[in-house]
Amino acid sequence: MPNATVAGITVDRNDEGFFTDPNQWTEAMAPELARSEGIDELTDDHWRVLKFMRSEYAQKGTGPTVRVLGKTSGVSIKELYQLFPKGPAKTAAKIAGIPKPRGCI
């Protein structure tokens, strides 16, 4: 399993760049993770989504899909794409340090 160093700390990530252990994540890592996803600055709106992703993961064991995010986070799907143009659910999961949203089979 590939290791990576984020904000000076070694973390475990899978081949696609998702954290395998969300406990290794700290808020201080988010700006660097965001930059590698092409997001230069994390705004309050970004943080709202990231915190929502973390709390959903803690409760349900998987991050929400974009459709569930749009229904429950208080941010519309259109706005979510403005915040995370490469795909909100996956990008936000990577920056928030949680595994890839399970989505569906």
Binding site: T65, V68, I77, C104
Partner: protein, 415 residues
């Protein structure tokens, strides 16, 4: 004492559960009631064939009540809500049903209204779905007169029923236009929210290769934001896919009464359910089978069939106070029609992705490989559905748990 078992939904899961329970319990042991809003049981795998003139909607619809064994009460009514605290179901017709055990089997519902523009002027004109009998029939008429242009097959977002059906539609469209001698005048595009042709890597590579070999373009990670009049799908990320004829698989949700029943469902109206025992997370006396559950398995009839044994055994265990058995392994088994009288078979569960080999043992149907035998299997299955699966019989040689004997399993990676 007679236990009151109420089953909501008279489709695949509700019917096979009712019939299995009826065999298990005498009339003095359990009163079994099935509720559904209509009396039309659709053989859903047949819908795929309707647009290509290979099946007619009349052939795939039968009365629900007739699929239920004697001694099962059938009530045709909408469901208003479930009162979990009171242990009651309030029906749309005003009747209240008390239950000792409730089985939720109301499946998934199409919600095309959640996609901007999908129900606009182009709906049922140049934009269709084959996920309803009416849609499949109307699409058949449109395909018959379609003689050149861009055909786009689009999955709006997961989860959907039978995640392989849109791929099968692409393969059959390739065959259909080839047979009509106009394949070179029709461009076929598959636009999917997934990052490949399927959710699991080995099958995604195989199926992606098959699309490619047939000249079917695949657009991945496409999240449809809007259907624009004039023949355009626009993605939330700004990408566009042009079409002359669009076949759209709309968003799915659970039944609407789930949303009106406090504590029962999730944000999409599916019911949070233990993936191994099939007991709901809402209450210990509520169990869930089939597409209505939020378990991480395909929404497919085969999954529902394989769940039946575990579910009925756990209902029995609950009623006698025994601990439940975590018996369901996520087993799914799907024939994938690939056109030209061939099909491919995939067999997998929660932990094992579809791999090559044979099913159910080293001597059996080829897995993840096109063959005529699999096509015959798919055709034969319709009869097995009505006469073996719905009556709740264990099908000979096909156990509920996924077999590994014939599979070429990859050597596990070391962590």
């Amino acid at each position: 004492m007679t236990s009151r078992i109420v089953i909501l939904g008279g489709g695949t899961g509700g019917t096979l559960t009712a019939n299995r329970l009826r065999r298990l319990y005498g009339a003095d042991e359990a009163a079994i009631t099935v509720v559904d809003q209509d009396d039309r049981h659709v053989y859903q795998p047949g819908l795929l064939f309707v647009p290509f003139g290979l099946a007619h909607t009349d052939d795939i619809v039968r009365p629900r009540a007739r699929q239920l064994h004697e001694g099962i009460e059938f009530i045709e009514s909408a469901i208003d809500h479930v009162d979990i605290e009171a242990g009651e179901v309030r029906l749309g017709n005003g009747v209240t049903l008390g239950y000792d055990v409730l089985v939720v089997a109301t499946g998934a519902r199409l919600v095309p209204e959640e996609t901007e523009g999908l129900l606009g002027p182009a709906w049922m004109d140049s934009v269709f779905t084959f996920y309803t009998p009416e849609g499949a029939a109307a699409l058949g008429a449109a395909l018959a007169t379609f003689d050149r242009g861009r055909l786009v097959v689009n999955v709006v977002d997961m989860p959907i029923k039978c995640p392989v059906a849109p791929l099968e539609f692409c393969f059959l469209a390739d065959w259909y236009f080839t047979e009509r001698g106009i394949r070179d005048r029709v461009q076929i595009t598959y636009a999917t929210p997934l990052d490949g042709a399927f959710t699991k890597p080995i099958a995604a590579a195989q199926l992606g290769g098959m699309l490619n070999a047939r000249g079917i373009e695949i657009v991945t990670e496409f999240n449809t934001g809007e259907v624009v009049p004039g023949g355009r799908l626009t993605g939330y990320d700004g990408r566009e896919v042009q079409f002359d004829l669009a076949v759209v698989i709309p968003l799915h949700g659970g039944a609407t009464y789930v949303g009106r029943s406090p504590g029962l469902g999730d944000e999409l109206d599916f019911v949070p359910t233990d993936e191994h025992t099939l007991q709901s997370k809402a209450a210990s006396n509520i169990f869930v089978i089939g597409d209505a559950a939020n378990v991480p398995a395909s929404k497919a009839g085969s999954v529902t069939h394989f769940e039946g044994e575990t579910l009925v055994d756990n209902v029995r265990r609950f009623l006698t106070g025994e601990p439940l058995e975590a018996g369901f392994d996520g087993h799914a088994n799907c024939f994938i029609e690939t056109g030209f009288h061939k099909a491919l078979l995939i067999d997998f569960n929660y932990d094992t992705e579809p791999v090559p080999g044979h099913y159910p043992s080293p001597v059996g149907l080829p897995l993840l490989k096109e063959s005529r035998l699999n096509h015959l299997g798919k055709l034969l299955f319709q009869s097995v559905y009505w006469h073996g699966l719905l009556p709740g019989r264990d099908l000979p040689g096909l156990g509920s748990n996924m077999p590994t004997a014939g599979k070429h399993l990859p050597v596990p990676e070391k962590d």
